[in-house]
Symmetry: C2
Subunit: 339 residues, 2 copies
Amino acid sequence: MNHLELRPPTMADVARLAGVSHQTVSRVLGDHPNVREETRAKVLRAIEEMGYRRNSSARALATRRTRTLGVVAANTTLYGPASTLFALEDAARAAGYTVSTVSLHKLAKETLSEALDHLSEGGVEGVIALAPQRSAVEALAELRHPFPVVVVGTGSGAEIPSVNVDQQLGARLATGHLLAAGHRTVWHLAGPEDWQEAADRVTGWRDTLEAAGVEPPKLLRGDWSPLSGYRAGQQLAGWVGRGLTAVFVANDQMALGVLRALREAGVRTPQDVAIVGFDDIPESEFFAPPLTTVRQDFATVGKHSIALLLDLIEGRAPSGTPGVAIEPHLVVRASTAPD
Amino acid sequence: MNHLELRPPTMADVARLAGVSHQTVSRVLGDHPNVREETRAKVLRAIEEMGYRRNSSARALATRRTRTLGVVAANTTLYGPASTLFALEDAARAAGYTVSTVSLHKLAKETLSEALDHLSEGGVEGVIALAPQRSAVEALAELRHPFPVVVVGTGSGAEIPSVNVDQQLGARLATGHLLAAGHRTVWHLAGPEDWQEAADRVTGWRDTLEAAGVEPPKLLRGDWSPLSGYRAGQQLAGWVGRGLTAVFVANDQMALGVLRALREAGVRTPQDVAIVGFDDIPESEFFAPPLTTVRQDFATVGKHSIALLLDLIEGRAPSGTPGVAIEPHLVVRASTAPD
DNA sequence: AGGCACATTGTGAGCGCTAACAATTCATGC
DNA sequence: GCATGAATTGTTAGCGCTCACAATGTGCCT
């Protein structure tokens, strides 16, 4: 708690105390090879003694590198985005970068533009956009910005470099699991149309059914919230006994709502209707009943995204195999298996 | 997507194009009063044309202000911390500051120290620490740092400026609600001992019982996770029929685990045992049954924290009434009310 | 001893901006 | 018509650092 000192020490101050030139101090700090061990020790002692820290602004000005990355995201209180954010932050820090975050309420073009401006003012070298909505990516593509941008979670629509989880595969796993358990068909409660993830999950679901020679039943839409799941669940309950025995819900929160609606309608899970969710939020294991769901590896997403962005910043060719989506995994629990 | 330009334009470039001095450009950008309208327009046109943006490093170097705040947090994928983070970020941006976040896996002294170092290297002017554990605050108090720090969520232990939700009040609301519903006594499943919030909730619970002349029953401990709630729930089930009819659980996730354990033991909620949680996570409304819980206003926490930190940075006397905790509210649902 | 290569250290010039001051312009009033 | 002050603009000097280069020092070979 010494933030009251008049002026923080500069490199020149340290140099004076150590009896060397400021450049030598810079060399020590920069781990340059050609510094005598004795000198290095002297300098380090002076640094320690004065509690010296390099001024990042001066450094950034001289090197033209801020070593700062930006992240734009919405819905950051949801498990998925929050987990991704965490992973990104971790990966960036490991690479020696600082992360500035802008959390938005909504990913409209306007707000996105403001966010990029804000980050730009902050001097970021590149930005990761958690933009799962197609409209957001389009907006992003139109916006001018003086740094590279990597999008997470919006399929590989080529327009902008991106990193993704293979949502279609996840949906195929979920749907296939239900078919394999003997269900004639599988209903689907999807996320909002504009979301790429929602669209991909619909595709994966539909493809799986069609590959099995089954006509896909009517598609239901929710908005990811438990409440929308609840409402959809009330509708679904009406189809029980008329061929509905299994539902693939596009996320765990909605699945929670569906479970409640079915329960209230006297429909038992999984005996009457089996349910599969998506995300594997920490709560899912303790739902009534515990939820079969699809888990995504956010840590890997974070690492790949940062790696790709850094490649872009450094002007390297992207090192990771581009466009390769990360594989999700099925987690089987009681909601699809009677005990 | 023009990040390939050789060198971004500087203020001098703009000045040349506009036919003025760089200082005049600076004045326009800084909204200085004494600039002729015509000149301002000329400059703005040049800025627009060149796509000029001020270099934040140079600015920071000259003004000695980075306009960046840091946030250190752990468990950022949980609803509470994620919500607080979001609110902090929003409030800071509204105040014209950029936020750099460091998300930690654990809030040990070592990692905290590294986090502060990292932020310090990034040139933050102040830091908000989401440090709900007492050990973390102690570590924070011992650590040297060249900027003010505000702690969120660790009671007003005076050592470090802090902003808090009145956890004891929340616990009193929860416990009082159960007593008022006619329960003879209320059990409590607490969070980890080291957490200030957990301790405060225990105190509020105990005080309420004692004020009602009731001897507090045995205290159970969890670690906030649904699993620990589940385990505790199994124990609690053993006391049903022996005086246990109501439980105040220190957070919603554990409450979820408790609900599952009770259900598996054939205990009905709320008919046999009433449950109150804490946090009001989005899922709570759709638990089986929907959970009565205590809601905290994270947006207010965020605003207060940023305001306090900015006061500290500017060297002002804290403007908000210091030490005033933010009031939580009870949200009554089916887990305490038979329909 | 002289010379050469290499290791080590120092010097000077910016990086792009803002703050302080100096210089110019302009409108007034007398 | 000219002094006078305000409005407007320009000039200069850093902010604290890194880079490129210059200047030493050191050891070793002939």
